[in-house]
Symmetry: C2
Subunit: 106 residues, 2 copies
């Protein structure tokens, strides 16, 4: 992923309910939709007891626009009604990045 700071991260942490009907389809749809938005830079996701999804964006305006996008609003409503016990959204400005790659060692 070619992201060069500064850029923005939306850190979405969630605890799911037992009602997950339609959840997987909706998250795939939202990922596809996010990719089409202006300013979208990428996404990281993992789930154990806690789910963490981080989406990356060029500006705060891009994030605000994505939050208000019609289909995404519908997904948020479904999430609150059915899929999530709890979630937290943290908006953060990424200031520095470094990485390690075993293949490039030495």
């Amino acid at each position: 992923m070619a992201k060069k700071p500064p850029y923005y991260a939306v850190i979405f942490t969630s605890v799911q309910t037992e009602q997950n009907a339609g959840y997987k389809e909706m998250s795939q749809l939202m990922e596809e939709l996010a990719k089409q938005q202006v300013g979208y830079l990428g996404l990281d996701h993992a789930r154990s007891a806690l789910g963490i999804t981080i989406s990356y964006w060029e500006t705060l305006e891009d994030i605000a626009r994505w939050k208000q996008q019609t289909d995404h609003l519908a997904a948020q409503r479904m999430g609150q009604k059915q899929w999530y016990k709890h979630y937290e959204v943290q908006i953060a400005k990424v200031e520095r990045v470094y990485s390690f790659d075993a293949l490039k060692k030495e």
Copy 2:
């Protein structure tokens, strides 16, 4: 977790190798150790194909100090030598937080 922005997040995303001997013990040890550091605010973790660990800190100085902490340096070396194929560290300033709790609905 009582975190009030602005604060800082260290977003650690990783892909593991197949050699995970000692990894679990070391991550528990590092979590215990992180908790004892000045400025530590909390930690979120999830792992699927990708592992995501986010630690939260009061200031950038707290993060720099934790990065250089002796036992943590040893863990980083073990990580590069054995446990990780790839990892990325993103340092971000959390500017805004909001949450949803199903129990508090309506």
